[in-house]
Symmetry: C2
Subunit: 307 residues, 2 copies
């Protein structure tokens, strides 16, 4: 003790001691306060760290220096090609290399997905293989609103593509991106995803081979029906921990630009149910105006219409 006292009498050591004591107290106090805050938040049922909350904007902020300008220019160019007739809505728009989508936080399914097909970009290049693709979460969607593979597990539904994998085989990365779960919706497998819906996708690709340009807008529909009590209801299943909505129907709006530059538009509305293999696709042709009423997407018609 005496040695300590005599040491403390030396000014330099005194200063060092007080500095160390102060630092320890400061860290101790801040640690205590941090713990108190964590407990308070936890007792209120609130996430402990602010980063757990969805914020707006949700995507991480990156400095301009980190942005690859060549890639930005490429995406901008492709976007202007794909979205030639404008955006149906602007909520949570996500830009992929070969398609775009608007995501609905409430249903955990896209509002719409837009693609642009030509004979040229439908070619399979460099042995692109969908067997190499894996379904992955979309990291740009906040974890509160993001659908996951676990949500689909044992749900009885397929992870159905909105932008079809078969439309994006120019590069492996294009094909990979269609497996991002924001481009996926719960679809009945046998008779729909692997049946009639697949036939519709093949029909679209055939059109791309017979026209200069084909623009495709695809999305879910939650259609009302009348019940025995005479009232109308919207009812749909939700799957998994995140309550991913199972659409009652899916739509596809196709704008075809012929080699004569004439524009034709077709709209399809298919129930998310097994459909008879012999049912002609034309049975599911609808008036575009009806489709608009069932969801929140507005599609502008081409200025010229033929057929």
């Amino acid at each position: 003790m005496n040695t300590i006292r005599s040491l403390l009498k030396k000014t330099g050591v005194q200063a060092a001691f007080f500095a160390a004591f102060g630092a320890a107290a400061w860290y101790g106090g801040s640690y205590y306060e941090r713990q108190r805050c964590r407990e308070k938040l936890a007792s209120l049922g609130l996430p402990v760290t602010l980063s757990e909350y969805p914020q707006f904007p949700i995507t991480p902020i990156i400095s301009a220096a980190e942005v690859d300008q060549n890639r930005v220019a490429l995406v901008q160019k492709r976007t202007s090609e794909i979205m030639r007739f404008g955006f149906p809505s602007l909520n949570n728009v996500r830009y992929f290399d070969d398609f775009l989508l608007s995501y609905d936080n409430r249903t955990r399914v896209a509002n719409w997905v837009f693609e642009h097909l030509t004979e040229e970009n439908l070619k399979v290049k460099d042995n692109v293989n969908r067997e190499l693709c894996q379904f992955v979460e979309d990291p740009t969607i906040h974890q509160f609103f993001r659908s996951t593979n676990a949500d689909y597990y044992r749900s009885g539904y397929d992870r159905g593509h909105l932008a079809a994998a078969g439309n994006h085989k120019l590069q492996q990365s294009h094909c990979d991106q269609t497996f991002t779960l924001s481009n996926i919706a719960p679809q009945v497998g046998v008779g729909f995803n692997r049946g009639a819906w697949n036939r519709l996708e093949k029909y679209v690709r055939a059109q791309a081979r017979h026209n200069s340009n084909v623009y495709v807008c695809t999305g879910p529909v939650f259609k009302p029906h009348r019940e025995a009590d005479g009232k109308k209801y919207v009812k749909y299943e939700v799957i998994g921990e995140r309550d991913v909505a199972v659409p009652t129907h899916f739509f596809k709006v196709i704008v075809m630009e012929g080699h004569d530059n004439k524009l034709t538009m077709e709209a399809y509305l298919m129930p998310n149910q097994p459909i008879n293999d012999n049912a002609p696709l034309t049975q599911y042709l609808v008036r575009i105006i009806r489709k608009s009423l069932y969801n929140n997407n507005s599609i502008s018609p081409p200025t010229k219409l033929s057929k």
Copy 2:
């Protein structure tokens, strides 16, 4: 005939004749083509005029010269006050003089409505009277997605306010604006809109009198439930020609800033059902994180939390 022929021989008259003939032919041709186009569109089940289609943007384009700059400055100032904690989402945002909302085209009900209340702006000035207010359609929402008074007629539901009329009595125009149908949702009348929900609105006003500032975010919830088959479903009624969604629940998130500048946040989730008059409001307090999961609104928490 001879007179006509001789007249035509005069160069000036010839020119006039050909000009008139040309003009007539041009108008005739364009009239014929217009009619043909109308018939074609009608036969396809499409609206005859392009203005009938929802376009993006939907609001009419006005020239800068028509904008009242004083009013713009006023709305901007009020917006920054109301939205102090940011926007939960940015889809179809509508700016009113004393509140803001985001509109959901699919449900025909707002995603969220934001208000800012103080003791001062809760005062009733200039004999503002809600009896003078009338429910009116929101002309800034395209007619496809706009709810109308006819949709509510004989539906059995009240036209329930999201931004409460009682919170906006500083000016008659403020009160009037809360009766715009984009701020209205179908609510059970007896026991809810005129009962527990009204009590919650009064509680919020009381908080505004005991605090410096109160920020209120209100909106619909479409909550899933489990049925006998073990699966989860979202089910809600839709009313009227326009299929206006009847929310299963309504939420209110309240951020209160005390006179000591401390912030407190409370979230309420109430079923759109008759609620017992004796049920305490605290029974409907929920964890804010749960609420976020039920719909597409993200609310950032205040940076400091007390209580």
